[in-house]
């Protein structure tokens, strides 16, 4: 493993610890859905994206939009570790007077780009930002991370049409395809099948990818971001994943990241009871020992 990826791996583990801590200390939250996005979020926030935590509202920043807002503790942990606020704040999740609301809202928390939690809205909001970036001739990119359960929402597909229509390649979508939503499998609850074909039918370049392979995710996101910053005429033939066919110049990209709900804590992995549940003291200790530490500082 390269030094670059090793650093990201360490950060991902740190964020997983932070998530367990935040939910344990607040006594509420969704650990499973947080854990599945950590390896998607970490390379974006800590390697790929153009960010300046000292200026959270800097106009030319890249945008990280968490559409599946119930994974707020993961976002908050990422932002804290990236330097937007102190990690010690994470203990105040969901507490009265804390900037860390149960679901994210931008006016409360530095680094939070959009309101999220009512599912399905990240792509439309990201679409607005991508249009605004294009209007001002900016080269920033907008990453939108959605759940797969939230693809039940019709607005997702409304946005998918609009983004493809406007050829907004400065917006890059990532589906956290952990296969399970609150009540069960995504194939059974919402009837979500042929996900790749659905996106392709909407005009997108859809790539299935291992959502826990930090090395591959980093390369893929880096390529997608580089492409997204370039004007249309300069990007033909740019591959996203080595060995795969390149997208058409005007196609927006969606990564269908195959993930495991609860990834990183063995007793949570694949067990949907952890969609929303707080660890007991014993479970907390087990998680911390697996994740190698306890610190929130």
């Amino acid at each position: 493993m390269s030094e670059r990826i090793e650093k990201l791996q360490q950060m991902a583990t740190q964020i997983r610890r932070d998530i367990v801590n935040a939910i344990y200390y607040s006594g509420d939250g969704h650990p499973g859905p947080c854990m599945s996005i950590v390896d998607i979020m970490t390379p974006l926030l800590f390697d790929i994206m153009r960010l300046d935590p000292s200026q959270p509202k800097w106009l030319h920043r890249d945008r990280f939009i968490l559409s599946k807002g119930h994974a707020a503790p993961a976002l908050y942990a990422g932002l804290a570790r990236r330097g937007y606020f102190l990690p010690s704040q994470l203990k105040n999740l969901r507490k009265l007077g804390s900037p860390l609301q149960g679901h994210p809202v931008p006016k409360e928390t530095p680094g939070v780009e959009v309101t999220a939690g009512s599912l399905g809205h990240g792509l439309s909001q990201g679409c607005g930002m991508a249009l605004a970036a294009r209007k001002r001739g900016d080269d920033n990119v907008i990453f939108v991370v959605t759940g797969d359960g939230e693809l039940n929402e019709g607005i997702v597909w409304e946005a998918a049409m609009t983004i493809a229509k406007y050829k907004l390649t400065n917006l890059i979508a990532v589906v956290d395809n952990n296969g399970v939503q609150s009540g069960g499998k995504v194939t059974e609850i919402g009837g979500l099948v042929k996900l790749k074909e659905k996106w392709e039918a909407f005009g997108w370049y859809a790539v299935e990818i291992d959502g826990h392979d930090l090395g591959l995710l980093t390369i893929a996101f880096e390529n997608a971001a580089r492409r997204g910053r370039l004007p249309l005429e300069k990007r033909s033939g740019m591959t996203i994943i080595p060995g795969m066919e390149a997208p058409l110049p005007e196609q927006p990209i969606v990564f269908i990241a195959k993930t495991v709900k609860g990834k990183g804590v063995p007793y949570m992995e694949g067990n949907n009871a952890w969609h929303k549940r707080v660890p007991t003291i014993e479970e907390y200790e087990t998680a911390m020992s697996v994740l190698g530490g306890k610190d929130l500082e």
Partner: protein, 306 residues
């Protein structure tokens, strides 16, 4: 949408967002002048509202314009959670407000709940202009008000009520005539001409009438309204909206809270209306000039009994 053209000339941040509503909003002229400032979301109002939120986060001032009910009902949650909650600078222009606006289209296009819905959302400003000239001014005023603003519009064929030179001051009631203190008539939108006629009839019957336009339903000019209630001691409200939740409710809340006097509400009496011509509809659904006159006499007669 003339106001939008005026705004866009001066302010690069002004954008128009439509949900295949460009023709209905008569905004094709805007697109000819400012093609890169028009976003077409398709017949997808929730998407349009959330796109507008994204534009506003990046510092632009989007106006999302379509039918009143598709904004306030189809995209209700998007307005509440994604615009009002983060207090974004998104403006909404909703046509076919009320039953007169939707007229022959029927209930699917008659929206008499919009103001009641938005009044319960923190951060929203609600403007109800009465005619095309006021709509232009309301649009220009909305751009200068920070945060979300809803401009409630009629059919676009509404009668002219005010002289073009008359200023539009959001947040304040517009006292139109003060010819006595027997009864206060409060109203807005398409109901104003009816209110004026009712005032004339009441005056010929010997009553002293004060008429005030309440074009800003939120934030309500509580001080101005309370002063009129104190002076007149009874009031009638007239609006093209359900009597629940709109201007009538707002003024009753003010009266009950600050200066309790009899208030009678003229509006749609909590029923689904039918198709018809605008004036015919308003008369049939108990929003006629005579209904206003009778409500005024009833309110006046209840003064001594309170």
């Amino acid at each position: 949408m003339q106001g939008l053209d005026v705004l866009a000339e001066k302010d690069e941040r002004i954008m128009l967002v439509c949900a295949d509503s460009l023709l209905a909003m008569r905004a094709t002229g805007f697109v000819e002048k400012f093609p890169d400032r028009y976003i077409e979301a398709g017949i997808a109002e929730q998407n349009a509202a959330a796109i507008a939120a994204g534009l506003a986060i990046d510092g632009l001032i989007p106006f999302f314009a379509t039918y009143a009910g598709f904004i306030t009902m189809r995209a209700c949650e998007q307005l509440r959670t994604f615009v009002a909650y983060p207090n974004l600078n998104v403006k909404f222009a909703g046509v076919n407000g009320g039953i007169a606006g939707g007229e022959r289209e029927g209930v699917t296009h008659q929206f008499f709940e919009d103001i009641g819905i938005l009044r319960t959302m923190p951060n929203f400003t609600i403007l109800v202009p009465a005619d095309a000239g006021q709509a232009t001014k309301a649009c220009i005023a909305a751009a200068a008000i920070p945060g979300p603003v809803y401009i409630r519009l009629g059919s676009g064929r509404d009668p002219v009520v005010f002289d073009a030179g008359k200023p539009f001051v959001p947040g304040k009631i517009n006292v139109i005539s003060e010819k006595g203190n027997d009864i206060a008539l409060f109203g807005n939108g398409v109901m104003l001409p009816r209110l004026f006629k009712a005032a004339e009839i009441l005056e010929t019957k010997g009553f002293g009438v004060t008429v005030a336009e309440v074009h800003t339903v939120k934030p309500l000019d509580v001080e101005g309204i309370t002063a009129v209630l104190k002076k007149c001691g009874a009031a009638v409200t007239a609006e093209d909206h359900n009597i629940i939740g709109g201007l009538g409710s707002a003024i009753m809340e003010t009266a009950a809270g600050y200066y309790p006097v009899p208030v009678e509400r003229i509006g749609l009496r909590d029923v689904f209306p039918g198709s018809g011509l605008p004036d015919e509809l308003l008369d049939y659904y108990q929003m006629s000039v005579n209904d206003i006159v009778n409500a005024a006499i009833s309110a006046i007669s209840r003064k001594s009994k309170l």
